[in-house]
């Protein structure tokens, strides 16, 4: 380690220059200075990123969409640069300049202060969609007290979570707040909250002993890990008893995913992941564990090989892996969702085996998220857990995630669990346990809940299933009446709705506008872009909500679309009058990638197939 530092030790100490310039008086007297300083520091940051963007241009893959994204980023950054420059000039004009000469030289000295870590970190920052997402004008004024990743996180909170926060503060209530937000964008099962509330209020839940109040085993209390092992053995129909030593319990499935990427990957290593997938993973991988998720895009078009829309086939994985390796990426594994979090799709045992064999061939880890199990509501399509297999192709590289958020609709409980045969992974994830620990009192309640097979089998699951069926039927009927195409496979809490027809042109910008339109109608849906869907126009709709809310939600949904349609027709008429020469095809092809644009011409016909096959 001394070797690491030697080259730097030649640098003059920076602290001195810092001390000399700072005096108490100047700090208190000239208020605007910190602001100017912050602006300038922010400018520096943006310029760095801007240059990075320009440099990275050639390394980017030549997919049109990426290219478009890229130039969009550059445009955004240019806008911010101009904006910041103006701010600085304004501030200087407004008289903040008096002792600025004193401070500016310091800044230039200081600007190299971050040499070691700072620069490294900056270059590891991915100049892609994320910074695009975050670079709204608000982002530009986040305090420079934060690190780059802190700035990203703060901006994320302000931008992406804004709508969620708005929803939290203004929830629909049938009596008290009829104009509040209805959230069908959130992955939450609200159908059985009455059952859960009742079960969790029973006296067996209220138990406290000294052990529950003390530091736990960071993998989770033994009593809970034993219960989880029993539970999974039973509901995953494991051929042999699952053992508590292979269980690690954390405060959500997402935390399990996060810790797995931490211990299996180093920064910039990659995982393959089929799209569309749960949006939380993108942020987790980018902002916290710095792991790249390589999207394996699934075509919507029905071809001979794909018997279902979005079906994952091994060839696509092979191809994606090869491409990634060719680009010099270090691919560590594959992430699978079964049932699929956004599609509600269930993998057959055979296809599961194929994926696992593929992974084994290439020494890849498989993280398989089965959080949505027990939420299948059509018995005709049986769910098979990977733990149901007689023998796993590569048990030491197969890591299963489960949690209670979806299966029991208690996302506020914060419980997720890992099951893996790999003892090293158990230990390494265990070390993260104290950053993702669950209260002992909660662990007790969870244990009682999972233990109560009678209640689960005879009360909860049947009721949940029939309520889900009912809600699903209601929504799909509505969609059919409205002639809106959708995909739904009889599992999970969602219907994947295609609103491409309402986008003109068919771009992600338009998708975002439509999302906003829903929002204006006090309805939250999840746009496909957040799920890395390659095609604009898909929305994920959560149907597991109370009938009354669903009814109001669908009214709002329909209103938003009618407005949209109306506008569209008006615009068409206008366009026709103006007789513009521009062809609509040019705008739509620019948005989708080369591979899918070829199929887009036939899309309308495949839509019909798609509808009929899933109604």
């Amino acid at each position: 380690m001394s070797g690491n530092r030697d080259p730097r030790s030649g640098q003059p100490p920076k602290a001195k220059t810092k001390c000399q310039n700072v005096s108490h008086q100047s700090d208190t007297h000239h208020r605007p200075h910190p602001r100017v300083m912050k602006l300038i520091q922010r400018l520096r940051k943006i310029i760095n990123e801007y240059i990075l963007q320009l440099e990275s241009r050639h390394q980017q893959e030549d997919l049109e969409q990426e290219e478009q994204q890229h130039s969009q980023n550059i445009r955004d950054q240019e806008a911010i640069l101009v904006h910041l420059m103006c701010e600085v000039v304004n501030l200087l004009h407004s008289g903040a300049s008096s002792s600025l000469e004193l401070r500016l030289p310091r800044l230039s000295l200081d600007s190299r202060g971050g040499a070691g870590g700072g620069q490294q970190a900056q270059s590891s920052r991915e100049p892609d969609q994320l910074s695009h997402q975050l670079s709204d004008s608000e982002t530009a004024f986040i305090s420079c007290d934060l690190s780059n990743r802190g700035i990203d996180l703060s901006a994320l909170y302000k931008s992406n979570l804004q709508d969620f926060i708005a929803y939290q503060g203004d929830k629909y209530h049938e009596d008290k707040n009829t104009s509040g937000f209805i959230n069908l964008g959130l992955s939450e099962n609200k159908l059985c909250i009455d059952l859960l509330t009742e079960r969790l209020s029973r006296s067996d839940m209220n138990y406290i002993d000294d052990d529950l109040l003390q530091y736990p085993d960071w993998r989770g209390h033994a009593f809970l890990r034993e219960e989880v092992a029993r539970f999974l053995t039973y509901y995953c129909k494991a051929p042999d008893l699952l053992v508590p030593e292979n269980v690690v319990v954390l405060n959500s499935s997402l935390s399990v995913f996060l810790t797995l990427t931490m211990v299996l990957c180093d920064p910039d290593d990659a995982f393959l992941i089929p799209t569309p997938f749960y949006s939380g993973l993108t942020l987790t991988a980018r902002l916290y564990s710095k792991v790249e998720l390589i999207h394996v895009h699934l075509q919507r078009k029905i071809t001979e090989a794909d018997t279902q829309p979005f079906q994952l086939i091994v060839d696509k994985l092979e191809k994606a892996l090869l491409e990634a390796k060719f680009k010099g990426k270090k691919v560590r594994g594959l992430v699978l969702f079964n049932p699929n979090n956004s599609l509600g799709d269930i993998d057959s045992l055979d296809s599961l085996k194929e994926y696992l064999e593929f992974a084994k061939r290439h020494n890849l880890h498989v993280i398989i998220d089965e959080t949505s199990m027990l939420s299948e509501f059509r018995e005709s399509i049986p769910f098979h857990s990977v733990l149901n297999m007689k023998s796993l192709p590569d048990p030491n590289r197969t890591h299963v995630i489960w949690g209670t958020s979806k299966s029991f609709g208690i996302s506020g409980f914060r419980f997720g669990t890992l099951y893996t045969h790999n003892k090293e992974v158990v230990s390494a994830v265990g070390a993260f346990g104290f950053l993702h620990g669950i209260s002992g009192i909660t662990q007790h309640k969870l244990c009682r809940l999972l233990q109560d097979r009678e209640w689960i089998d005879n009360v909860y699951l049947p009721t949940n299933r029939s309520r889900m069926q009912e809600a699903h039927r209601y929504i799909t009927n509505k969609l059919k009446t409205m002639k809106v195409p959708f995909v739904s496979h009889g599992s999970g809490l969602y219907i994947w709705v295609n609103l491409k027809e309402y986008l003109d042109p068919c771009t992600f910008e338009e998708e975002q506008l439509l999302y906003r339109r829903f929002l204006d109608n006090k309805l939250l849906l999840a746009p496909g872009k957040a799920y890395m869907c390659k095609e604009p126009g898909w929305f994920r709709l959560t149907f597991s909500d109370k009938p009354l809310r669903l009814k109001v939600a669908m009214q709002r949904f329909s209103e938003a679309l009618t407005d949209k349609k109306q506008n569209w027709i008006e615009k068409q008429v206008e366009d026709a009058l103006v007789e513009s020469v521009s062809s609509p095809s040019s705008s739509s092809s620019s948005s989708s990638s080369s591979s899918s644009s070829s199929s887009s011409s036939s899309s309308s016909s495949s839509f019909v197939n798609l509808d009929s096959s899933h109604f």
């Binding site: 380690m1 730097r8 030790s9 100490p13 602290a15 001195k16 810092k18 700072v22 971050g114 040499a115 070691g116 870590g117 490294q120 970190a121 986040i142 007290d145 934060l146 690190s147 990743r149 802190g150 700035i151 996180l153 703060s154 909170y157 959130l186 939450e188 909250i193 969790l200 209020s201 839940m205 209220n206 406290i208 000294d210 052990d211 529950l212 109040l213 003390q214 085993d217 405060n251 935390s255 996060l258 931490m262 211990v263 990957c265 180093d266 987790t284 916290y288 030491n396 996302s411 506020g412 409980f413 090293e424 992974v425 390494a428 070390a431 950053l435 669950i438 209260s439 009192i441 309640k445």
Partner: protein
Amino acid sequence: MATLPKKESRAPTTCLGLDTNYGDGLERERSRKPDHKRPEHYGVGDPTTTFSSDSSHLSSRGRISKWFWDSAEEGYRTYHMDEYDEDKNPNGIINLGTSENKLCFDLLSSRLSQSDMLQVKPSLLQYPDWRGHLFLRKEVARFLSFYCRSPAPLKPENVVVLNGCASLFSALATVLCEVGEAFLIPAPYYGAITQHVYLYGNVRLVYVYLDSEVTGLDTRPFQLTVEKLEVALQGANAEGVKVKGLILINPQNPLGDIYSPGELRQYLEFAKRHELHVVVDEVYMLSVFEESLGYRSVLSLERLPDPQRTHVMWATSKDFGMSGLRFGTLYTENRDVATAVASLCRYHGLSGLVQHQVAQLLQDRDWINQVYLPENHARLKAAHTYVSGELRALGIPFLSRGAGFFIWVDLRKYLPKATFEEERLLWRRFLDNKVLLSFGKAFECKEPGWFRLVFSDKAHRLRLGMQRIRKVLTGTLRVAEDPPSSRTQEPRGQHI
């Protein structure tokens, strides 16, 4: 024989790698120039080079986290395999190493079993506001305003709630520092922070080494001064390590010491001069059982030198003796820090039902003021009196001023050689005799031979624990060849 560092020179040492050396002090001395015996005033931690473990499946950072896990194996998990139980396992291990307050479980259990705690509402079972439910953040703000005696009411918008202070350290490190940057921390310190800031944040610690010997203008052992902070900061800068902030633990762990308002202000001014963030960990704030100490929270200061860079943390683990509850909170006026930490809360959240319970608990001022705190302080004091009396009877020097759950014990005279290996061997002998303590190296103490002894345990366990300690020490006291006189010298005036 390694001599103890003396403070003749304040020049920053450029020797690297000292901090990571578990090895023999003799070797260390030899590797340096013989005529330049410089004391260590600071050190830079580097987990990447220090900790790793073998594994075929894990990434390099995965191997480091496995190392953290495995390294706890010997102590903590040996204890868990063989916990003492009065009836079932009287020969089991007594844990005087983990800083937990086991004196008030009876009070807490009965409070947590009252009917107001048992409420289950649908909203508690659904996705929360990631900063924590508003009802809880309001309650935390009220609670801290009252117990920290803040000049103006604290605001719920400045509160972010997570599942413990470990998570809070991790989140703050991530949002305040880039990869490879560092926090200053006076050592000895609660060693787990190394892991907290490293695992996700990849942030390092620069140790500001404190001395047991009272020299210069110092009035007490292990005293932190601005001068020492300056030296460490400059040293780190010279090595190219960018320091972003300072971590202060007040009341201090493991010293059981507190910073006076005057001292606190000096440290904050130092941080302001260098534009450093200050993370003030006040988890022991209500565990000050000697009222004469006059403890003051940083939130009680009339005007903070740099409020935008001052971040305070508190939790129920220590002050309410419930480390298993997993509740910690941040208080900061810096909105950007609050929101950045909040967006990490989806990974560090706590159950809605627990949020409800914590809010009920913090609300119950009557119970806290009239039942819990007086009783807790009385029990802490009694336990402390017993253990310190035992130590005095054994002629063992120690530090403890009446805050926290621990006594910082000077066992240097029991080491045949002043090395961390010997320290570890002594620790192992304690464990073999079924009593678990924490050794000084775990707190990055630079002098081998200090141990942290936790006294906040039931009387019968303390008695047995002290018997076992006595047994080990009386068997060990065939002290090595001519111990330097400074070794046996007791820290001045610190015996309570």
